[in-house]
Symmetry: D2
Subunit: 166 residues, 4 copies
């Protein structure tokens, strides 16, 4: 499968990203070990740490970048979409079969909403802060962003639980 | 100003849209009376009722449509963007100076998030249900979708209050 | 009908635009007189002169702009699509029922090709230079950009001839 | 480098694609041997043959697909952009550092024009028919699509000549 990992951008040596280092690196590693292709927004933060973990496990990581952005050093391939960061996110999400969310500001919220609209299953890695945690209590019946029930949004809180879904 | 109105799609003679008829028609009317150009997603539901109100007050209404969709009969101009409904929404929001939200399912949530990301002020018409109400308690300090505080999301609950902002 | 007019950008008091002033203003005028909505890329050059002619005849002119661009003073409505100038052109062409081309550099060529791909009939105003003239000899059987014959590209060389098609 | 190869779609066992088999397979092979990442539109025709050649030489091939399209079996990674085939082509071209064109109908012309607009160097593989050959005589000073001279469009007519540029 192609699995997108979305979440906080920002420097990896500062919070909130720093505290998520182990979760991110492990997520990348287990995805690669299960031979999934990892797709991210290609830059720093959660994206970089996940890519680092995936690369250690010899995984393939595609960075789907907004116009002119630079990919992190762990991406196997950088794809500069030439578009703004929202259009870039539409392409990124559509390219994935499943989406894992870790922390995240409004860009991550945008991607969670896009995943649901494009009917891509989402896994919220709970306890990682940001919109990954804040969207959870709004879900209808614990799973859906609206009454159309387009796809399920699941919640996990450990790498072990993640492995049951990938 | 160009003011986008977003919200529920669906038949105007059935709930949840039917109960919002007066709010929608009045919103369209006051926007037109103040000489704003109204921009909507162009179809039925809230979009149609707002356009009807605006047309009664001789307003200009632009329907920014997804590929192949048909505009409601009150639009002054229908613009078929040729793109899917999410890309269409990016164009629609970017074209507006301000956004008013009434009820709404995931498409409306997508547009609220896009408005914030593109730094367009949003007015939530509270009490109209859907994501317009559900997004409110998630706002940081009552105004923001994330810590970057890109633009303010305001809340009103009557046409009188709306008129203070337009 | 919604009719897009495409062509040279650039200052209207300098060639190549200056020499096309009469053709552009008259094109705008006759389109407005026949009650067509005029759609352009919204900026200077051919777009501005066509909009001026249309406005003199009380026409409606929509400027479909790339991110952050400023519309010319004759547009009835400016729509900032928020996207780069190529994505903007996809939206502009899709929104039109027919396309008229006057002169033009690579942006105009892009729009002629897009019109054909989206199956929108194109009218080349011959003798106006640029890609409007340069594309003509490449047409298969005088009408088509490729063997799929997706739509006809017609050629005219006067306002009188134009009026037979609008 | 990331090098896009564009050209005819269609069945590989029928002309015009069939006659181009050797050129396409060899192009893919030499690009892979020089460690370039190959980007294509991901489907059949020239795209499939180039991918086959690249795969034989253990290259990495990314197929950038329009919504819902299926990639050919030689792609290393398929990216479904979720967008129509023109928006897809904007992303595909922007992701490349250089573009090689072999034959092609209007989609290829669209991509040649996009490459020039996004300032990506283009190499026309002459003698392969379609727009790759038909665009050549229109070039200003033999290299440019317009007077802005945004990037050079080169012409080659053998694999040996191609190797001088990659």
């Amino acid at each position: 499968m192609r699995i997108a990992v979305i979440g906080y951008s920002g420097p990896i040596d500062k919070d909130p990203v720093k505290s998520l280092e182990e979760i991110c690196v492990q997520t990348g590693r287990v995805l690669a070990q299960k031979d999934h292709t990892i797709i991210t927004g290609g830059r720093d933060g959660v994206m970089e740490l996940v890519a680092r973990g995936a690369k250690e496990a010899s995984g393939t990581i595609i960075g789907v970048l907004p116009k002119g952005a630079r990919g992190n050093p762990y991406n196997t391939i950088n794809l500069d979409t030439g578009q703004d960061y929202l259009v870039r996110s539409l392409v990124l999400i559509h390219a994935a079969d499943m989406v894992i969310s870790i922390g995240g500001e409004v860009g991550t919220l945008f991607e969670i909403v896009t995943s649901y609209a494009y009917q891509k299953p989402v896994i919220l890695f709970r306890g990682t802060g940001g919109w990954t945690d804040r969207i959870a209590p709004t879900l209808i019946d614990g799973y859906y962003l609206d009454n159309r029930r387009l796809t399920k949004i699941l919640q996990i809180s450990s790498i072990e639980e993640l492995m049951l879904h990938i």
